[in-house]
């Protein structure tokens, strides 16, 4: 009985979805003549969380349109061609390192950690903004997070994937990578739990697992919407399988909300713990420039700093290309700018405190390390770091600059470079002067170092472009909820309520809502 009822309900949904979607429509803006929602177009920016006038239906229509009927083809294909070429460069570098060994990189004693570990920390750091947005801001009821959490979480997952590759390559003997996990084996080998490098393995693998689960659970209602709105049978099946039979019943929503909050609570400590553990890789070692108690908070702040810069680097082109200016509004960009400014100040404080501690420690090696950073052979990288992470973000104090999109984009790029330089200064500059002058040396990245790093950007971008094409880069279910809440405050709520009343049981995926012109 119940099964039959479900099937009927689902087919009713599918039928009504058919009336809504424009099967022949190719553009993001629906073709005239169809029951098209009043999607705000044009270049005017808004400081609201979401452009007023949106309804449940118009949100589902607008976002699923990008995937189901998107005409991103030319730009998207050109972008994909570029990123895939970078990905191929990475695969070449990867094969080279696997076949020939890590000697292809510029690392050697005394600088045993080079671009591989720098890139690892850089990528992991970038991921942190996604978790902060999706988990912490959710728990703090910052509802502006809703429009940017989905792609920020995707950014986290892809960044962790890029990061995870580096320690594996850095091992040199990739076939033994599983030795880092406590797997029962015929050698009775067990990881050395006193080593921060093992903590790293657990921090990163937990981070990836939790982030991916969180992301997927959040996607389920949207996958159901896509299943119902897709006109292609193959797409229906694929989205349907991953939607796990979501029908949007009250029971489903109840469980979904519970697990979503629970996962947010599990993710929250990860924002702080993962990069703290990564900083232990350095601060537990007795190397001047590494052995410092300020590292965990300063690494976490740096991670969020870099992550928000990357969110902006992704959001600014995406909202332009996919015409999402009404969902990812100026308010989001400005808020990201504010977070960058705040965390950037913490990071800058960390730099200044390192300088002070160099003097205050009265330790020859600490003092030498600090002087060497400033005037040693790698001195320019230190000053470039000060410019990129210390001075450049200060421009964000001015609201005019914070809301100027080209300015935000350029500052974000500068910060990303700065965060790479920060890890370069910490890792390479600390290692290249050993305690004994006889053991001093220099590190120069080789072609393969650069190929591996630039190629990993290709891996990230390829994954991201594919994500934008096949999955909703903005959470439809959550933005519909946002429309509902905004309706309460802005007075546009009657529209939403009316729809909810007339829509029957299938209303929860939003797919069978007849969009109506907003009255407010």
């Amino acid at each position: 009985m119940a099964k039959k009822a479900r099937a009927i309900n689902a087919s009713a949904q599918a039928a009504s979805a058919g009336t809504l979607t424009a099967p022949g429509g190719t553009g993001i803006v629906p073709a005239p003549g169809h029951a098209a929602p009043p999607v705000p177009v044009g270049d005017e920016e808004t400081f609201a969380i979401i452009e007023p006038g949106h309804t449940y239906g118009s949100i589902s229509q607008k976002i699923s349109e990008i995937i189901l009927h998107g005409n991103l083809w030319t730009g998207w294909l050109v972008g994909l061609a570029m990123t895939v070429s970078l990905l191929l460069l990475m695969l070449t570098a990867l094969s080279m390192v696997i076949l020939q060994g890590v000697g292809m990189w510029g690392i050697n004693i005394p600088v045993g950690w080079g671009f591989d570990i720098i890139s690892f920390v850089w990528w992991i750091g970038i991921g942190h903004a996604g978790t902060l947005i999706s988990a912490i801001l959710l728990l703090f009821h910052q509802n502006w997070r809703t429009s940017i959490n989905r792609f920020a979480e995707a950014m986290t997952i892809f960044a962790v994937m890029c990061a995870g590759m580096y320690p594996l390559l850095h091992l040199g003997r990739h076939q033994y990578a599983y030795w880092m996990f406590p797997v029962p084996n015929t050698m009775q080998l067990w990881p050395q739990f006193r080593s921060p490098l093992i903590w790293d393995v657990f921090a990163v693998s937990t981070y990836f697992t939790v982030s991916a689960t969180f992301w997927y659970v959040g996607l389920i209602p949207d996958l159901a919407t896509l299943r119902d709105r897709a006109t292609n049978r193959f797409a229906k099946i694929i989205y349907g399988v991953f939607a796990l039979g979501w029908r949007g019943s009250a029971k489903h929503w109840h469980r979904y909300t519970a697990i979503y909050l629970l996962l947010a609570a599990i993710s929250t400590p990860l924002v702080l713990s993962v990069h703290s553990v990564i900083s232990f890789d350095f601060s537990v070692g007795i190397v001047p420039g590494w052995h410092s108690t300020i590292f965990p908070p300063y690494f976490v702040a740096g991670a969020i700093f870099a992550g928000f810069a990357f969110v902006l680097i992704l959001a600014i082109p995406m909202r332009a290309l996919c015409n999402l200016r009404d969902v990812i509004t100026m308010k989001h960009l400005e808020n990201c700018g504010k977070v960058m400014l705040a965390t950037g100040m913490v990071v800058f404080y960390g730099y200044l405190m390192e300088l002070f501690m160099g003097y205050f420690s009265r330790n020859t090696y600490e003092q030498y390390m600090t002087t060497n950073r400033m005037v040693g052979p790698y001195g320019p990288s230190y000053w470039a770091l000060f410019f990129c992470n210390g001075f450049a973000p200060q421009i964000l104090w001015f609201r005019k600059m914070r809301t100027n999109i080209p300015c935000l984009f350029i500052v974000s790029l500068i910060v990303s470079v700065g965060m790479f330089l920060e890890r370069f200064v910490i890792i390479v500059v600390s290692l290249h002067r050993d305690y004994l002058p006889a053991a001093w040396g220099m590190y120069y990245p080789t072609f393969w170092d650069w190929a591996q790093f630039i190629g990993s950007i290709g891996l990230f971008s390829t994954l991201f472009l594919l994500f934008v094409r096949v999955l909703p880069s903005i959470s439809m279910a959550e933005v519909r909820e946002l429309v509902h809440h905004e309706g309460h405050t802005a007075g546009a709520g009657e529209v939403a309520y009316e729809e909810a009343e007339t829509s029957g049981d299938g209303q929860t995926t939003g797919s069978n809502l007849k969009p109506r012109p907003a009255q407010a």
Partner: protein, 218 residues
């Protein structure tokens, strides 16, 4: 458009989750079991240039291990006997046997017989026969009862965990030195006390040292 999923999909997907988990468990168990036995090629008689029977020479003829493996108690390597050792007897008995033609050929040409190695440890493991024999570890502990093997096979896995099982607690495997080459020795009922006494008497290293990486990996 027609519904793409039949209502039975719900049931099928629930069962496939359970089935997948069960299948994974079964697969892992089988894989582990396979690797511990057949994966290590245990109990597989190995092809040799001459069908040499330990069972015949040790059990029926009563020849001591050290008659052929002369260096087992003095050196790291329990030597493979040279053709001359075989010829001490086989120049006199079975001197026309066609089975022994490879031995006589080796004797005539001076080219050693290329035996197939039964136990081949990796090169990063340093194993010393003499120290084990001197501390009261019998041949049987590692090689099994070769006096029961018509053609030699591998009786123990020789994996690192197998080595460590004894290195963590050698007392359970020790026997008096006089019994090391006795392949049919049965441990007495008081093996725990005897083992502990032999550990003291033969100065067997404590567990911390026996399980140190550089005991075997130098």
């Amino acid at each position: 458009m027609a519904q793409v999923f039949h209502p039975s999909t719900n049931t099928i997907s629930k069962f496939s989750i359970v089935g997948g988990l069960l299948g994974l468990t079964v697969f892992c168990t089988l894989w582990f079991g396979f690797n511990l036995t057949y994966g290590n090629r245990l109990y597989v008689p190995l092809e040799q240039p001459v069908q040499f029977s330990h069972k015949h020479h040790v059990k029926d003829d009563g020849i001591d291990c050290r008659y052929c493996h002369t260096s087992v108690d003095k050196s790291s390597f329990a030597n493979i006997p040279p053709t001359e050792t075989c010829m001490t007897c086989h120049s006199q008995i079975w001197s026309d046997s066609p089975l022994l033609e490879p031995v006589r050929e080796s004797w005539r040409t001076g080219r050693p017989i290329a035996w197939t190695r039964v136990h081949d440890l990796p090169d990063f493991v340093y194993f010393n026969h003499s120290i084990h024999v001197q501390k009261g570890v019998s041949c049987v502990s590692c090689h099994g009862q070769v006096d029961e093997m018509p053609i030699t096979w591998r009786a123990k896995t020789l994996t690192m965990s197998w080595c460590l099982d004894c290195h963590k607690d050698p007392a359970k495997n020790l026997r008096p030195r006089s019994e090391v080459y006795n392949l049919s020795y049965v441990p007495p009922a008081n093996q725990p006390e005897l083992g502990a006494q032999l550990v003291r008497e033969y100065h067997v290293l404590p567990r911390q040292q026996l399980t140190n990486c550089s005991i075997c990996h130098r």
